[in-house]
């Protein structure tokens, strides 16, 4: 009986499915994480000194501990405190919190980058605080940090590879599985790497072009 076999065409389908899972888990995390991160980022600009310090301290924890450790730790913590999450749910939760920590930082600097003069100009036309927020500060500030946000999003896509340690079969884990069976690491890794690259490179480039245009 042969327990090993070479790479076959249908293995590409297997990889594609796993790539879909990479997109799914990172998409969900980025989506929810960005929304919450926007709110936290805004809070950081309006909270008092203590509130800001506390919120910052909490968010900072997630930037100061390796993602690998966070994943393993939370994956094992949830059942201990009474509810068991599967690899997808646990991975998504950790990635989401991680995204929140990064996006809130980006958002705060974006909102702070809107010059006081511009806001004064808006207020001097009679816009209320919320009108100023809605029509001036958010559009201007978020546009300014859009490239940085793309950077965060792409790094979450790449970091989602770590969810493989929870047994979630995303792209990198699927590659490992195939390597186990086919013992052909080079070509399989090349395919996986090419996928990430094809996803990340064009978006990063587009964002930096956008940044250059916006900077003018």
């Amino acid at each position: 009986m042969d327990y090993f076999s070479g790479l076959q065409l249908k293995d590409l389908g297997f990889l594609a499915e796993a790539a879909g899972r990479t997109l799914l888990i990172s998409g969900v995390s980025i989506g929810i994480g960005s929304l919450v991160g926007l709110i936290f980022g805004w809070l950081l600009t309006v909270l008092g000194r203590t509130g800001r310090f506390l919120l910052n301290a909490v968010l900072d924890v997630f930037r100061s501990i390796p993602l690998l450790i966070q994943l393993v730790l939370f994956y094992n913590l949830f059942p201990i405190i009474g509810f068991s999450l599967g690899p997808f749910a646990a991975g998504t939760l950790v990635l989401t919190v991680y995204t929140v920590a990064l996006v809130s930082n980006v958002t705060r600097s974006g909102l702070e980058s809107v010059s006081p003069d511009l806001r004064r100009a808006a207020r001097s036309l009679g816009l209320s605080y919320w009108q100023d927020m809605r029509h001036i500060v958010w559009p201007v500030g978020l546009r300014a940090v859009f490239p940085a946000w793309v950077g965060v999003a792409l790094s979450v896509v790449k970091d989602s590879a770590l969810v493989s340690v929870l047994g979630y079969v995303e792209l990198l884990r699927a590659s490992q599985t195939l390597i186990t069976r086919t013992q052909e690491p080079l070509i399989i890794l090349a395919i996986a790497g090419a996928f990430y690259f094809a996803l990340s490179f064009p978006m990063a480039r587009a964002a930096s072009l956008y940044e250059k245009r916006w900077a003018q």
Binding site: S115, D117, L118, R120, A121, A122, R123, S124, L125, G126, L127, S128, Q131, H135, I136, P139, V140, R143, Q216
Partner: protein
């Protein structure tokens, strides 16, 4: 029209305005000069309630600006303001820049706001730039856009804070011309400026600020030719 009595403004320990008394009549053009840090911008911010005050009062058309019950957003519609820099909203076209506030603050319909906005832009000579974004405009055009934007709220008073000092020398003229046009049309204006020529030609009165105090005020000929105060004289000799 504007009545300021014994105005005091502090930033923490810093005493920036030390008892200003000033009245500006309807249709009058007042230029404010003075060295950096003397409190000129702060005065303008206090007038339209962008900064709180610590003592005294400012009345605009019989409305007490800093009274807690005053609806500032409403008051500010009367007070157009143009700043030194970064005035225009970078994410909106020239037309949208001007039409935004009438639409969301005054509740004009989109088409009405656009129509009036394009009139105002024509007025300041930007009739052919309606759909340009600010980054595609020169500094002088951006300042004229800011003026149009303020005019669209149909203010009864315009406040200019060094509207030309960030501009290349060649572009200063076009903005000053627009301001001259407003003065001729009878707009009440307070202009903080470094352009002595403009202050001399256009203003009804000129005020000199020095370290939070209004040292001297009077018709331009008097203030420029026979300044009373030592400080005014020193300042004028430096800027000329």
């Amino acid at each position: 029209m504007i009545d300021i009595t014994n105005l005091h403004k502090r930033f923490g320990p810093l005493h920036v305005l030390k008892g200003i008394n000033l009245t500006v009549d309807k249709g009058e053009v007042l230029s404010v000069i003075g060295s950096s840090g003397s409190g000129k911008s702060t005065l303008l911010y206090c007038i339209n309630g962008l900064e709180s005050i610590q003592d005294g009062s400012i009345r605009v058309d019989d409305t007490e600006v800093h009274h807690p019950k005053t609806d500032l957003n409403r008051l500010r519609q009367k007070l157009g303001m143009v700043f030194q820099q970064w005035n225009s909203f970078p994410h909106l076209t020239a037309l949208e820049n001007v039409a935004l506030a009438p639409r969301i603050v005054k509740g004009q319909s989109k088409s009405e706001a656009s129509e009036r906005a394009s009139e105002q832009l024509n007025h300041v000579g930007l009739g052919d730039k309606l759909d340009s974004y600010p980054h595609a405009l020169s500094g002088g055009q951006q300042q004229r856009l800011a003026i149009a934007r303020a005019l669209a709220m149909e203010p009864s008073l315009m406040l200019f804070d060094e509207a030309t000092s960030a501009l290349d020398p060649e572009l200063v003229g076009e903005v000053l011309d627009t301001m001259r046009m407003l003065a001729r049309e009878g707009m009440t204006m307070i202009c903080v400026t470094h352009e002595m020529g403009f202050a001399r030609d256009v203003s009804d009165r000129v005020a000199y600020f020095h370290q939070g105090i209004m040292e001297e005020i009077g018709p331009p000929e008097q203030l420029f030719n026979t300044p009373q105060s030592e400080h005014t004289r020193a300042f004028l000799s430096k800027v000329r």
